[in-house]
């Protein structure tokens, strides 16, 4: 199946660029800490050469700090790897719970800079759909961007995926005191072609103050237009 061009539009490139920029920033921060740990080791050796003994417990803590930063970097790179592979197949069975978890990781820094906390509670069962994972991540990123902008600093946005009789739904929750209908309209305006290509229906549930993205059971990705 060929990839629908509407799914790799300028919005897709912008999404790709923003995610890569955030990842590179996070990696730089990890390298900065490891660099300082290396520098401190040099400092301690230099002091030892001048007669000041090295405390082994200090070295152990340094080693532990380096390992912690390596784990931190490993987490960042793992998320980057999953993000990169989301573009492998134009149509693949995907667990929405994992996709939302990945989105939360990729958007964590952006959210922190806006003073927003993203929560992605994990349901007990996978929620499977057939879709273009990168395209769906892009769509959800735009939804998240709009909801975070509307929420403002100090707020929490919760994302959850649920099975429905006719497919699946992703809910952006805890949008109280926010005009969710306006957010839905803005998202639709920004993602019109993308939503169509993904067969995604975006709407506002004003009663529960949620932005809702519905995906069909039989396959989220439309056949490529002639």
């Amino acid at each position: 199946m060929a990839l629908d061009a509407r799914l790799i539009s300028p919005a897709g490139l912008e999404f790709f660029g923003k995610v890569c920029a955030a990842i590179s920033h996070d990696i730089k921060n990890v390298l900065a800490v490891i660099n300082e740990n290396g520098g401190l080791l040099e400092d301690l050796c230099h002091m030892a050469e001048k007669g000041r003994p090295i405390d082994p417990s200090r070295l152990k803590r340094l080693a532990g700090d380096v390992r912690q930063q390596v784990r931190r970097a490993d987490g960042i790179i793992s998320a980057m790897n999953r993000f990169a592979h989301s573009a492998d197949e134009p149509s693949a069975e995907s667990d929405l719970v994992e996709l939302i978890g990945l989105l939360g990781l990729l958007a964590k820094r952006l959210a922190a800079l806006r003073g927003v906390v993203i929560q992605t509670p994990v349901p007990s069962v996978p929620v499977l759909v057939t879709t273009f994972p990168f395209g769906l991540l892009n769509l959800l990123w735009i939804c998240l961007d709009c909801t975070m902008t509307a929420s403002g600093s100090g707020r929490t946005v919760e994302l959850i995926a649920e099975k429905t009789p006719d497919g699946a739904v992703i809910r952006f929750r805890r949008l109280d005191q926010i005009d969710v209908a306006l957010i839905a309209a803005i998202v639709l305006d920004r993602t019109s072609a993308m939503s169509q290509a993904l067969n995604a229906a975006i709407s506002a549930d004003e009663r529960s103050s949620e932005l809702v993205v519905r995906l069909p059971k039989g396959g989220s990705v439309q056949p490529t237009p002639a």
């Binding site: 730089k28 921060n29 900065a32 660099n35 300082e36 520098g39 401190l40 400092d43």
Partner: protein, 153 residues
């Protein structure tokens, strides 16, 4: 004399270890992961240099810098960033930052810039003191005793 430095960075691991290394070099270091707290600190405390991360969740580095400048125009600020860009660097310098250093940091380079910041601040403070003194001495109406020491006009 010991350089007195305030470091503001939301990455606490980086803050802790950079602070320790700078203290080993004899600097007097205060740290905070909160730019809002940094604004409170500079109201009552003086520093030879402020090392300020460019991107922080609570408040961006540029905004924090502008607010520090409003309270304390004498303080010298050196930006640190994990993603330096020419345009951001230019913006920071235009606003009056002393310098702009990418992460990972070369501590020798940073230490040198802190020494320069200390000199710059000392010159600025001296100029301000001289300007205040000149104002007092030339303001005859506000300083009657000064009239006796001023040349007759």
């Amino acid at each position: 004399m010991t350089e007195r430095v305030l470091i503001v960075d939301d990455d606490k691991a980086f803050l802790s270890i950079l602070s320790e290394r700078m203290q080993h070099r004899g600097m007097d270091v205060i740290t905070t992961a909160s730019p809002v707290e940094a604004l409170r600190i500079v109201e009552t405390d003086s520093f030879d240099a402020i090392i300020l991360d460019l991107m922080m969740p609570e408040m961006g580095g540029i905004e924090a810098f502008q607010r520090i400048r409003e309270k304390r125009p004498d303080l010298q600020v050196i930006f640190l960033t994990g993603h330096p860009s020419v345009s951001t660097g230019i913006d920071a310098m235009k606003l009056g930052a002393m310098d702009f250093i990418p992460k990972p940091v070369d501590l020798n380079e940073l230490a040198e810039k802190i020494k320069q910041a200390k000199i710059s601040r000392a010159i600025l403070v001296e100029k301000q003191a001289q300007a205040r003194l000149k104002k007092v001495l030339t303001d005859k109406d506000r300083c009657p005793p000064c009239r006796s020491i001023l040349p007759r006009s």
